[in-house]
């Protein structure tokens, strides 16, 4: 996606309560805004819902990772025990699959867990140490502490510096600031 790397990133409204944020976000989404994001100091499910974010793909990645771990370890064990280095342990068959279950089980969990954590970060586009919003001093000081933010982004076709500002002012935020790249 080609984003303009200069000029305005968007307009950022600051709210005191989660309720005010959710109401503003809902109104903006209903008015046709699609390039917008909400920011909160803790998981605020309602805000994600009202801007049309219902499903994510972390569970799928986790499932795929877990199955990969399971197959990798089970086939490694089978290959080692039957072909690469067959050992006679108390006369047991070389392919003694019940004994292989435990390490395969552990690797299922290992791969699934790593996929969940790194998949979540990748889908979120993290790590990304720079973001234009950090240029807004009020975002920088309170987005992770106690304030709630709604950002209407300049890439949305509805974006207009003056009209959008007025639109945001209508929700009685603490402030509306323009964020530069």
């Amino acid at each position: 996606m080609a984003l303009p790397r200069e000029g305005t990133y968007g307009l950022l409204a600051e709210f005191d309560t989660p309720t005010a944020l959710v109401e503003a976000a809902k109104a903006a989404h209903d008015a046709g805004w699609r390039r917008l994001d909400c920011y909160a100091p803790y998981p605020l499910e309602e805000a994600a819902e009202v801007i049309g974010f219902h499903k994510n793909r972390v569970p799928l990645l986790t499932l795929v990772g877990g199955l990969m771990g399971l197959c990798a370890m089970f086939s490694l064990e089978t290959w080692i025990s039957t072909l690469a280095y067959p050992l006679n342990i108390a006369g047991r068959p070389t392919y003694s699959w019940p004994a292989f279950v435990v390490p395969a089980y552990e690797w299922t969990i290992l791969f699934a867990g790593l996929s969940a954590a790194f998949g979540m970060l990748a889908l979120n586009g993290l790590p990304s140490l720079y973001h234009p919003l950090f240029n807004a001093p009020n975002f920088r000081s309170s987005a992770t502490v106690d304030k709630f933010f709604l950002c209407l982004e300049a890439t949305d076709p509805k974006f207009d510096r003056v009209e959008t500002k007025n639109f945001l002012e209508g929700f009685h935020p603490n402030s509306v600031v323009e964020v530069e790249y």
């Binding site: 909400c38 803790y42 309602e46 080692i80 025990s81 552990e106 867990g113 970060l121 140490l129 992770t144």
Partner: protein, 471 residues
Amino acid sequence: MATRDLTTVDPRVDPATGELRVLAPGQSFKSVTAKIADIVLTPHTSLGWLMLFSIGGAGATMLLVAVTWLFLKGVGIWAITQPVAWGFAIINFVWWIGIGHAGTLISAILLLFKQGWRNSINRFAEAMTIFAVVCAGLFPLIHVGRPWLAYWLFPYPNTMNVWPQFRSPLLWDVFAVSTYATISVVFWYVGLVPDFGTMRDRTKSKFGQYIYGMLSLGWRGNVKHWMRYETASLLLAGLATPLVLSVHTVISFDFAVAILPGWHTTIFPPYFVAGAVYSGFAMVLTLAIPLRKVYKLEGLVTDRHIDNMGKVMLATGGIVAYGYGMEVFMSWYSASHWEFFMMWNRMFGPIGWSYWMLIACNIAIPLTTLWVRKWRTNLAFMFVMSLIVNTGMWFERFVIVVTSLYRDFLPSSWGTYRATKWDYMTYAGTFGLFLSLFLLFIRFVPMIPMHEIKMMLPAAKVKSEAVEAGD
């Protein structure tokens, strides 16, 4: 903030439920952040911290000395010999890893059961898990005789064309413990990412901003990110739950797969897991009681937490007591001469006192007193109790390892076990290592998850559209 005016006798009790409160009333997003973050962000390091850290450092240094001497001389400096070839190293390994289990239980299982009260204690309980696993993992590594070849435990292509033997529980242990360590660290770090963001935004120092900024990975609280984050946390919790149960189960297989009387029993997996949780909660109490006192966290780690942990200890202690009872019953019911002798020797043999220590510390004292809520919320009592239980759990592992080994089937091969000073130094040294790591954690990392506490505040709820905005 508007709090309803209620006439209640005890301010610690929530009138709506009649239970003790999870969080003290009258806290805001800002006050919670300030309370937790400022413990770390103060430039002033307290004298008490420095003193404790020097004690921990001295212990860790002693560990280094003991391990260095071990590497130079070999495991012969320990008391292990025939017939007791598994001594302190295995006892301490099982003991430490058991302590770690409570952290995972709190962070994972209680999250799945939506036990909100866990939020205050899960971060440092998880840190406890990681540091306990560090101490635990050390023992098998230094026990292998030639620790510089410990990587032979892993399957990797090598010029010798030799591969591990996958039918041995000892190898299963390698995978169980390494997975456990990895997932614990990942789960802990994922939990920390948003809080590192808060630290980045709050710290005044340039250096702190760099470090916390790096660690936070650029977290900015986007609600879509939060949704994926919550999903990932839940999935990690769902994965850590079977993992934690499997780890101690696999460790119990190390014993149960052998044919030795006292080890060869099917009750080991559940009884090991319950014992692990029992000792782990005791350790959480040992850490939480002084921490909340020193850092004045009574509003976040309330009497409800202490009370609930007492209840969990009561339940797991009960399971452990059942395990002990079953062992005694089976040694009689099996009609096996060897089983019967093992139990008699365990109770009345030359080191029978260790069995009675474990009965006293794990059953007689805690399971008679923890029923009383007044005592469960008495801090001094619970602190002493936590130490007693952990002593008892150490003796449990001692009894299992030593009394089954030192008098086996053939009387001519009977021996005894007397730990050497190097055994004691190594064990005591791991306390130093644990204490040092834990102190570094509380000095540099927010010890209570801020975003999870914020979720529990009344102000965090979105009121329905009909209700007027604002609080």
